[in-house]
C-alpha cells in the first residue's frame, strides 16, 4: 500500500511541477499577491483632501479651520469664499470632503447662538465618511471647549479617556490584514488547484488508466490530496516568512498549535475541493463551482465585513464557513498569543467541518467511480 501511494505521489508532484509556469503560479503568485495586497489593504484614513469654504473669514473661523488643517486626517486642498465650485470639485473627485463655515459664524458665537458648520463628505467612501464625521465632531468639540474657556474661565472636563488597543497598540492595519490574506490565499490556491485534480483525469480520460492499476480508491484519494496538503504547508510557511521579513509580524502564540490548526484548515479545503472535483464533469464546471464556494467563504468570514453586523440568518450560516473559524484561530494565535484553551469552539468547529467535507468527498467518489 505504501509503495502504491508513493508512486501516486511521485506522479502527482511531477504533474504539478513539470510545467515551469505552474511552479510560478503555485509558489510565487501567492507570495507576490500577499505582499502587494497587504500594502493596499489599509483603512487608516489620513490626508483626506478637503475643500474649505470660509464665508465668515474672521479670527474665529480661521481658528476653527486651523484645527482641521493641523490634523493628520485632513489635507486642505483649497480654501474658497463661496461654495459655487464645490459641486464640480466633488463630482470630479478632486476633494473628498468640504467644511463650510457660514457667514456670521463669529457673530453667532459672540451672541450665544449655535452656529452650523457643514461637513460635506463624498458618501461613496462610506468608511472614510464615518471616520471623517467622527473626527470632525471631536475637532469641533475641542474648539467649543477652548472657546468656552476664553469666555467663562477654566471648567474641568467630565471624563478623560485613556484609550488602549490591546494586541496592536498602534492600531496598524497590517497586523490584521496580513494574516487574513494568508488565510485567503490558502483557500484560493488550494481550492482552485485541487478542484481540478480528479475532473482533469476524467476529462482527458486518464482516470480509466488509473482505475485499471491495482491502486485502491482510498489510496487514490490520499495520493490526490497529500501533494496539495504538502504544497499548502510550504506556501503557508513562505507566506509567514514574508509576513515576518516584510511586515514584521511575529507569531505571538504557539507555532505548533498554529501549524496543527492550519493543517486542519488546509485539509478541510481539500475535502471541499475534492467534493467539487468528483461531482464536476469538466474543468470549467469545477472551477466555477469552486468559485461559488470561495467567494462567500472569503466575504462571509469576517475578514473585511464584520460578522456580527450581518443579518441573523447569514450569521448562522457562517458556522459552515471553514475560513471563519480559521481566521479567528489565526488572528488569536498570531496576534493575541492565546493558547488552545481560548480556541476550543473554533477548533472543534473547524475539525468537524474538515471531517465532514472529507468524508462526503470520499463517499461521493466511491459512487462516481463504480
Amino acid at each position: 500500500m505504501k509503495e502504491r501511494i508513493k508512486q501516486m505521489l511521485i506522479k502527482e508532484f511531477l504533474q504539478m511541477f513539470r510545467d515551469k509556469r505552474m511552479r510560478m503560479v503555485i509558489m510565487v503568485m501567492p507570495l507576490v499577491q500577499l505582499t502587494i495586497l497587504s500594502m493596499a489593504l489599509t483603512t487608516d484614513v489620513k490626508n483626506i483632501k478637503v475643500a474649505i469654504v470660509d464665508r465668515d473669514n474672521t479670527v474665529e473661523s480661521r481658528s476653527l479651520i486651523s484645527r482641521f488643517s493641523d490634523s493628520q486626517y485632513f489635507d486642505v486642498a483649497v480654501t474658497l469664499r463661496d461654495d459655487s465650485r464645490l459641486p464640480q470639485m466633488l463630482d470630479k473627485g478632486e476633494v473628498l470632503a468640504a467644511i463650510s463655515i457660514p457667514y456670521g459664524f463669529s457673530e453667532d458665537l459672540k451672541s450665544g447662538k449655535q452656529s452650523p458648520v457643514q461637513i460635506i463628505c463624498d458618501g461613496i467612501f462610506s468608511n472614510d465618511t464615518a471616520i471623517i464625521m467622527n473626527y470632525a465632531g471631536q475637532v469641533t468639540a475641542l474648539f467649543n471647549s477652548r472657546h468656552l474657556e476664553k469666555v467663562a474661565g477654566k471648567i474641568a472636563d467630565a471624563v478623560n479617556l485613556e484609550g488602549r488597543a490591546w494586541y496592536n497598540p498602534n492600531l496598524e492595519s497590517k497586523f490584521y490584514y496580513v494574516p487574513g490574506l494568508i488565510a485567503v490565499m490558502l483557500i484560493l490556491v488550494g481550492l482552485v488547484l485541487t478542484s481540478m485534480a480528479i475532473v482533469r483525469e476524467k476529462e482527458i480520460g486518464t482516470i480509466e488508466q488509473v482505475m485499471v492499476t491495482p491502486i485502491r480508491k482510498s489510496e487514490f484519494i490520499i495520493g490526490k490530496t497529500l501533494p496539495f496538503l504538502i504544497t499548502g504547508y510550504v506556501t503557508m510557511t513562505l507566506m509567514f516568512i514574508i509576513a515576518y521579513l516584510v511586515f514584521g509580524i511575529r507569531i505571538q502564540g504557539s507555532l505548533l498549535l498554529l501549524y496543527a490548526c492550519s493543517g486542519v484548515y488546509i485539509t478541510g479545503n481539500l475535502g471541499l475541493a475534492l467534493l467539487v472535483s468528483v461531482t464536476a464533469r469538466t474543468q470549467q464546471q469545477a472551477l466555477l463551482t469552486a468559485f461559488l464556494i470561495i467567494v462567500p467563504a472569503i466575504l462571509l468570514s469576517g475578514f473585511i465585513f464584520p460578522i456580527h453586523n450581518m443579518p441573523e440568518g447569514v450569521q448562522a450560516a457562517t458556522i459552515f464557513n471553514p475560513m471563519r473559524w480559521y481566521l479567528q484561530i489565526l488572528h488569536s494565535i498570531a496576534l493575541k498569543g492565546v493558547g488552545a484553551e481560548s480556541l476550543i469552539k473554533p477548533m472543534i468547529a473547524q475539525a468537524a467541518l474538515a471531517a465532514g467535507f472529507l468524508s462526503l468527498a470520499i463517499m461521493k467518489f466511491q459512487k462516481t467511480i463504480d
Binding site: 505552474m22 459672540k110 452656529s115 461637513i119 462610506s126 464615518a130 467649543n144 478623560n160 472551477l287 488572528h331
Partner: protein
C-alpha cells in the same frame, strides 16, 4: 482583416454556443454566481459598524457612572453585553473575541464628577481588527464628548455666568449617498467584480480546451482565420456577460433600490467595453498558456483579488501607499468602478468620465490585439 468571412465567424460562435448550452451546469453557474454575489453583498455585507459588543467594569457604581454608561446603552453603536469586576474576565472576553470594547470606570468616578473634577475612564479595544477598533474608539470618544458637554453645561450653571456662549455645531452631509448606505456603493461596484470573474473564467478555458482535447488540429485544417476564431469564441460569452449586467442592474434597481442618477445608455456602453476587455484577457491567457488549469488559475488570481481589493471597490485608493496607488492604474476595474459610481450615484456623464472611458477602451483594444497576435493557427 483580409479575407474575413462573417459566415465563418458565425459558425464558430454557433459551435461555442452549443458547447455552452450543452454544459448546462457551467451556464447555470455563470448566471447563478452573479445573482448570489449581488444577494450576499446587498443583504449581508456592510463595513459600517454598529452594536459593538462591549463589556463594562463599573468600579464606581454610582448614579454618575450609571448616567455616563447610559449614553452607551442608549446608543445604536454599542451593545453592552457583560458586566465584570476584574481584568482577568476582560482579558478572557477580548481573547476569545466575544467583545471588541471594554470600559473601565474607576472607583472615584462619582466623587470626582460631583466635585467638578475630571475622571479618567479606561477604554480597551481589541486592536487585532484594526478597522473595527478605530471606529469603536471614535464612537467612545464621541459619546464621551457628548457627556462632557452635558456636564459642562451643568457646571456652567453652577458658576452662574448668565448666558452661555455660542458654539459651533456640526451639520454632517453626505453627498451622492445621503443615508450612507454601503449597499448603494457596493452594488454598482459588484458589476465590475462579477464581470471580471465570469468573463475571464469562461473564456480562459475555451482555446486551451481545444488544445487539450486535440480538436484544435481539426480547426486548423479548416479555412478558418484568426480574427474569425477569436471573435466567434467571444460572442456567446459576450451575450452571457451582458445578461449578467442586466441581472445586476435589475437587482440593484428593484430589489435593493439603488438610485440610478445617470444615463443608462452610458452604463451599457461602458459595461460592454469593459466586458470585451475582460473576455479578451481571458482568451489571451487561454491562447498563451494552452492549459485550462493554468489559464484559469491565473485568471482568478489576477482577476478576482485585484478587482476586489485594488480597484477602490472596498478600500479607497487614496488611502493606499503611493507605490500601490501606482499599481492600481493597471487594474482596469479601477476605471470601470469609477465610471459605474459616477453614473449611478453622481449622475455625471462623459464630460467628467471621458478619461476613464478612454483608458477602458484602450485596454480592451490592447487585449484584442494581443490575443489576435498570439494566436497561431498552426501546429508546433
Amino acid at each position: 482583416m483580409k479575407g474575413f468571412k462573417f459566415q465563418r465567424m458565425r459558425a464558430v460562435a454557433r459551435k461555442e454556443f452549443i458547447h455552452l448550452i450543452r454544459d448546462w451546469r457551467s451556464l447555470a453557474l455563470a448566471i447563478a454566481i452573479p445573482v448570489f454575489l449581488i444577494a450576499i453583498f446587498g443583504w449581508a455585507l456592510t463595513m459600517d459598524l454598529s452594536d459593538v459588543p462591549t463589556v463594562v467594569w463599573d468600579q464606581s457604581s454610582t448614579p454618575q457612572s450609571r448616567d455616563y454608561l447610559s449614553h452607551f446603552q442608549g446608543s445604536p453603536y454599542f451593545s453592552v453585553k457583560y458586566g465584570v469586576d476584574n481584568y482577568r474576565d476582560i482579558q478572557k472576553y477580548l481573547d476569545t473575541g466575544q467583545v471588541i470594547v471594554a470600559l473601565v470606570i474607576p472607583w472615584d468616578f462619582g466623587d470626582r464628577i460631583l466635585a467638578g473634577k475630571t475622571a479618567d475612564v479606561q477604554v480597551i479595544v481589541d486592536g487585532a481588527n484594526t478597522n473595527n477598533a478605530s471606529l469603536a474608539l471614535g464612537y467612545v470618544t464621541n459619546l464621551s464628548l457628548i457627556y462632557n458637554s452635558n456636564i459642562r453645561t451643568k457646571r456652567m450653571a453652577g458658576k452662574r455666568l448668565g448666558a452661555t456662549p455660542g458654539q459651533a455645531v456640526i451639520e454632517p452631509r453626505a453627498w451622492y449617498n445621503a443615508d450612507l448606505r454601503s449597499r448603494n456603493v457596493i452594488i454598482p461596484g459588484i458589476i465590475a467584480l462579477v464581470m471580471v470573474v465570469i468573463a475571464a473564467m469562461l473564456t480562459s478555458v475555451t482555446v486551451a480546451r481545444e488544445w487539450e482535447t486535440g480538436t484544435m488540429e481539426q480547426l486548423i485544417s479548416t479555412p478558418l482565420r484568426v480574427p474569425e476564431l477569436i471573435l466567434g469564441k467571444i460572442m456567446p460569452y459576450f451575450v452571457v456577460g451582458l445578461t449578467d449586467v442586466a441581472i445586476a442592474v435589475a437587482m440593484g434597481r428593484w430589489i435593493f433600490h439603488v438610485p440610478m442618477r445617470g444615463n443608462p445608455g452610458l452604463l451599457v456602453l461602458a459595461s460592454s467595453i469593459f466586458l470585451l476587455g475582460a473576455l479578451f484577457f481571458g482568451l489571451l491567457l487561454s491562447i498563451a498558456l494552452k492549459s485550462q488549469v493554468l489559464a484559469n488559475q491565473i485568471a482568478i488570481l489576477s482577476g478576482y483579488m485585484p478587482t476586489l481589493l485594488l480597484s477602490g471597490f472596498v478600500f479607497g485608493i487614496h488611502n493606499m501607499p503611493l507605490p500601490i496607488q501606482g499599481i492600481t492604474y493597471i487594474v482596469p476595474a479601477r476605471y470601470f468602478i469609477a465610471m459605474l459610481r459616477g453614473i449611478y450615484l453622481k449622475g455625471v456623464g462623459l464630460e467628467i468620465l471621458w478619461l476613464n472611458g478612454l483608458l477602458l477602451t484602450i485596454y480592451a483594444a490592447a487585449m484584442m490585439i494581443l490575443a489576435h497576435k498570439k494566436l497561431r493557427l498552426m501546429l508546433d
